[in-house]
Each structure stands twice: as structure tokens, then as C-alpha cells.
Amino acid sequence: MAGHAAITGLGMVGLTRDTPGPADNLACQAVLAAMADAGLDHADVDGLIVCRSGAASESDLGLALQRTLALRDLSLLQVLHGEGTSVVQAVQTAAMAVHHGAARQVAVVFADAPMQAGRPASKSFGRIKSSRGIGGLRYAAGLFGGASVHALAARRHMEVFGTREEHFGAVAIHTRRWAMMNPQAVLRDALTMEEYLAARWIAEPLRLYDCAMPVNGAIAVIVGDATRAATDAHEPVYILGFGQGHPGTPERRGFEPELHSGAAHARDIAFDMAGLAVRDVDLCQIYDAFSYMTLLTLEEYGFCRPGEGGAFIASGATGPGGSLPVNTGGGHLSGFYLQGMTPLAEGVIQARGQAGERQCARHDVVLVTNEGGRFDHHACVLLSPHRDAQARRNSP
């Protein structure tokens, strides 16, 4: 019977620069940890969705993970490729399967091991994706790596709205304040504006602390039917709504692809599904591989007006003690970069009330976002410890 899809287990492995790979070994450990967290045996898991880095191949991490895990008779098995949105897309897919009774307990996993001894991170993150066609001209232009294209986008926001480097610095500084309270975060020292501005350039206007912290590791969740929850250790985290937006904005005069993601499109679908409004959100976990993403995403969801993201963040509203906590684990910038799992895992931890020193008192509605390409792909999911967050909001 179809039930209410919820995240019933969470497993986190590695999350440091020195964790040894390979990725499929880390993925296996994370799925086993998530199963244990959910109180599930091997026979209970009947679905697996595998997500990997764009730099990894099927032989690095793919469908063969089923055999590595010794899972038998799966009802759902796929590799899901959505660039940075892979994880939330996979959670959506798993939730839809569980809703229809096509599977009962689906493991969703992301694993990556880009850090190798003696190899700079830029070697892993500066690779060529496709050097064909007009899009391929970016490499002849020297635009390697995600930092280059997000820097181009950030520069447009500065030009059009007057956003300044200090606004990106505010993103980094307030995200770091949360990381200081997260034992799993990589960067836990306070960051001042002077230190932020003095750090080395990566791709102007992006500096070192505007870019994600790469690590090796894996995170898995179990998406299952909450009515069959098998553990008392924690409550299920209900999936109230989800959506995607893939704008396909033309690259020519009259369009501003650097200022427009798929967030608003995804938002409308997700909030309609959940029966909630943006003002109902208690905290956000925003995909923040680059600081500009946090700023633009807050604007696009409507937490502030277009062009005002910098001022909103600089006010402290998104930091500890603020009105809208954002990236309470330190995000990608100060926590660790495991693609779409970074915001999802923190969203689950906060929804469960298990975030310790950094726990937000209000955590009924948690927004989790994923971003891919250069604002080409957006996916979001709304999580809650309550099956019906809307009813709970309406009750006195």
C-alpha cells in the first residue's frame, strides 16, 4: 500500500580531505549506515538510486553498487544524473515510487573521492565537460571550472543591482558562523571580512571563501513509507513537496541567464504540492557551491526582493540568531562539498531536532535546494518532522 514518503534513515561517511576512496566503497558504507539508522535489514531495502560526480564514470560508481551491497530483488534501481540536482531529484523519484507502492524503502546515495594525495583540487574541478559546439567555446575562452561561469554570473548581479564583494563576503561569514557549531564542518574558525577580502582570488569576483570545500565521502538517505518506520531512535522526516526548474534560457540579448535560475519554477510546484507558502519556511539549506548561489536563491524564492539578497544576508538574517537560518551546518562553503547531499543531510538533521548546538528552535518546515550547471538546473524539497505541517501551522 502506498504511504507517506519520508526520510527514515541517514548515513554519513568520511567528509574529510584525507578520507581514502574509492567512491563506490564509500557509497557502500554510507548506505549500510543509513540502513542501520533506519533500523532496516538487507531484505527490507528494495530500491537504490545512485548519484555520482560528473567527473566520475559508471565504472567508478553506478548500477554495480547493487551487487557491492549484496541487495537482491530490487524494485527500483537507477543512476540519476542531474548535475548538482541529482540528489534532490533522486529523493523526488524515490518519494514518487514509495507513494505509488512501486518500492517500499529506497536508498539514495552520493559518493565522491576527488581529493587524491599530491593532486590539487583544481585538477578534479577544472575538467572539460564537452568541447563541442558553441558551448564548447568556453574552453577556448579559458573558462574552466564552475568558478569561472559562476563568477561571470556574480559579476552581472554586481553590474545590474550594485551588489558588492562585501555581500559575497557576508555569505561566507554568516555561513562560517554556523559551521563553527558543526563538529563535521571542515572550516570552523571565525571568518572576518578582512580575512575574506585578503584571501586569494580564484576567479574574480570569487575568492577562496566563495567556493566550496571539497572532501572525500558519501552520504545516503533512506526514503520509505513512514507508516512502516522501523526505529524509535528518531522520527521520520516527511517529504511534504518537491519541484524542479530547468529554465533553458537563451544566450542572447534580452535574456539574463546569470540572474535567473529554475528556483521560482520549482518553488511554485513544491509549495503547491505541500500546501505551504514561502513565509511558512523556518530554515533553508541552500546549495552553495559558490557564495553567489545562496544570494540568488534567496531572491528567487522570494525571501527578499531581486537585487536585495546582499543586504538581506549582510543584515545577519541568515546567520545564528537571525530570522531565516540558512545553511546551518556550514553549507558547501565551510561545511563540506558533497553536492546535493550537503544541504539535504543538514535539512534532515535539523528536522529531526538532532543538530545539537546549532539546532534551530523552529524546524517545522525545512526548505532544501539543489543547483546544477550554471543555473541550468534547480530542484527543491520541503521537509518536516510533521506529516501535515499545514495543519500544524493552522492550529492555535
Binding site: 568541447s131 558553441i134 575562452a141 533553458g248 544566450e251
Partner: protein
């Protein structure tokens, strides 16, 4: 730019073959949809009216800087950091990524002109110069 080093390789695909054919002859061209006249680049389907027939017309080579980035890592021997990669908006409307050969820090809206240089694949690619 190191004039003797070819730029990173870029190959043509179905949508851009006429662009690279013209580039090999030193000509900059853009696509015009025969149904709605929208000028674009890199499409097999018109991104305005969804028709599927184009003619290729000459572009002037004049453009403005839509956005730019100053890169501080050298990923390829053609580029010595710091160097500038930009999105150039052609006078005709379509935008292209280009290397700014003679400038590290332009202004948005600044005029540039596009000329062709060789890539490692043997194709010609557009490069931007100050006006």
C-alpha cells in the same frame, strides 16, 4: 596571449558546423530563423518560434562585454594567469564566450572586436580585442 600556442580544442557539432566552416575562412556568422528572423547561435530548433530552418548571415565582429571574469589559475598553456574570459554580446544579439587577448580587466558594456585564432583541434575560434 601566447600567439604561438593554439587555444583549447573546440570541435563543431551539427548545430554549429556552419559557424566553424565560416570561422575557418575568417568570417563570423550567426543563424537567422527563416520563420521569425530571430538571430541566435548553436541551435537546431529556433529558441523563439521552434521552427527548424536557418540561414547563416555575416556578423560584423563588433560586440560588447556582457560579463567578464579574471581567472587566477592557469588550466591550459594558452592562458597565463591573471587573464580574462568574457561573454561577448554580438552587435547582432547572440552571446559568445571569448578570451580577451589584450586586456585583463574590462568594463561591462565596453566595446570589443572579434577576430579568429587557431584551436588545437585545427578549428578557428573567436577571440576578443579592445577597440
Amino acid at each position: 596571449m601566447n600567439a604561438t600556442e593554439p587555444l583549447p580544442s573546440v570541435d563543431a557539432d551539427a548545430a554549429s558546423q556552419p559557424f566553424f566552416d565560416a570561422a575557418r575562412e575568417g568570417r563570423l556568422v550567426v543563424q537567422r530563423c527563416t520563420a521569425c528572423q530571430t538571430l541566435q547561435l548553436g541551435n537546431v530548433i529556433c529558441d523563439h518560434c521552434f521552427a527548424r530552418q536557418f540561414e547563416w548571415i555575416a556578423a560584423s565582429g563588433r560586440a560588447t562585454v556582457h560579463s567578464f571574469v579574471v581567472m587566477h589559475l592557469s588550466y591550459h598553456r594558452s592562458f597565463e594567469a591573471p587573464y580574462c574570459g568574457a561573454i561577448a554580446e554580438l552587435e547582432e544579439g547572440p552571446r559568445l564566450p571569448v578570451y580577451l587577448a589584450d586586456q585583463v580587466r574590462p568594463r561591462i558594456g565596453q566595446k570589443v572586436t572579434l577576430r579568429f585564432a587557431a584551436s588545437e583541434a585545427g578549428t578557428a575560434v573567436p577571440v576578443a580585442y579592445q577597440v
